[in-house]
């Protein structure tokens, strides 16, 4: 459960960053770290399986470019945009339930 939730959050974080515009892998990693105030970060290349999975699922599009040296840029697809909206709404519901539960426990 914890691994699944964490995987889901990581995917949504990547999609959220790419909503701002196309980016290279390292830019996505830095942006996630900055935008979450360091609460989430990708170490030891953990970003790549996430990006490749999103690419396989059609949520992001990876394009090789660069002169002389190949660099990969990722951009959000329409499917990815829909996935982000649906995922964010689902997470919001789940966290609201959890927060209410914790709030109830504290009150008791």
């Amino acid at each position: 459960m914890q691994a699944t939730l964490s995987k889901r959050i990581n995917e949504l974080l990547v999609l959220a960053v790419l909503e701002q515009g196309p980016a290279h892998g390292y830019q996505i990693a830095l942006s996630v770290e900055e935008r979450t105030g360091g609460a989430f970060s990708f170490q030891h290349g953990t970003l790549y399986p996430i990006l490749h999975r999103l690419e396989t699922n059609g949520h992001v599009r990876g394009t090789w470019g660069g002169e002389g040296r190949r660099r990969k840029t990722y951009e959000l697809t329409d499917d990815g945009r829909a996935e982000l909206a649906a995922g964010a709404a689902q997470l919001e519901r789940q966290f609201r339930v959890l927060l209410e539960l914790f709030g109830g426990t504290h009150a008791a």
Binding site: Y26, Y48, H52
Partner: protein, 254 residues
């Protein structure tokens, strides 16, 4: 001694087809370099920036396992998903044994291998089984694991060639032995026409068995060749990738 590239270990450990391996290496390397430059712009020292960049982007053991699962060939992904990955080796052995069994039946019928010809006919059956097993091993590495490294590829190819030569030699030897036996019978004038046709049949069977085994071995390997050529091209590109990227040390950058 020249220091090793930080991604050399990833290249050795990542068991995916070379094309995918090159993509991962190029992507990670470009990101590491750009991230290092970005961190330096933000005030990190070069060595500190390099370490921080590598820590973020170079895949660790767990990440490598995830990448392997993602980039395995379709057949390999299916085999992992259904649990057939553990049975693939056994399936290869089963196929090789089945093939050898079929060849054994043909051999018994064609050469009368239960009699005096057994000494040369049965080794041929074993050679066919070994050819099939060798081919199965290479095919499993290519289409299920996705990773057949040059060293193992060379060893399997040498074994295949050795077995093909052995199959032809055994076929020729068996045929020659039958010819020699037939001439002996002719000289002794104990050679009735039906016996002569029997001898011709055994000669042809021995030769055909050797030739069939050789053709099976060669054409089997030929079926792997397009993929092997593609892999080799990609491995050259991986070597070129490492050759063109001497490790960026702080002293060299300055």
């Amino acid at each position: 001694m020249r220091p090793e590239h930080p991604l050399a270990d990833v290249e050795r450990s990542l068991a995916v087809p070379p094309r995918r391996r090159l993509d991962v290496l190029e992507e990670v390397d470009a990101d590491a370099e750009a991230l290092q430059a970005e961190l330096e712009r933000r005030g990190y020292g070069p060595a500190q920036a390099r370490r921080a960049a590598l820590r973020r982007v170079v895949p660790g053991t767990e990440t490598l396992a995830q990448l392997e699962a993602q980039h395995a060939p379709p057949l390999g992904r299916w085999a992992r998903g259904t649990g057939w990955i553990d049975r693939a080796e056994r399936l290869g052995i089963f196929v090789a044994t089945g093939l050898a069994g079929a060849v054994a039946c043909i051999t018994i019928l064609g050469t009368g291998a239960l009699g005096s010809a057994a000494v040369l006919a049965w080794p041929q059956v074993i050679v066919v089984a070994l050819l099939a097993a060798n081919w199965s091993r290479a095919a499993k590495r290519l289409w299920i694991d996705g990773d057949l490294r040059p060293e193992l590829r060379r060893r399997l190819w040498e074994r295949q060639i050795g077995l093909i030569v052995l199959a032809v030699a055994l076929g020729a030897l068996g045929a020659a032995r039958e010819v020699w036996g037939a001439f002996g019978a002719l000289e002794a004038e104990a050679f009735a026409p039906p016996a002569m046709w029997d001898a011709v049949g055994r000669i042809v069977s021995f030769a055909a068995l050797g030739l069939s085994a050789a053709i099976f071995g060669l054409f089997g390997w030929l079926a792997l060749t397009p993929r092997l050529i593609d892999d080799e091209t990609m491995e050259h590109r991986i070597s070129a990738f490492f050759a063109s990227r001497l490790p960026t040390t702080p002293s060299r950058r300055r």
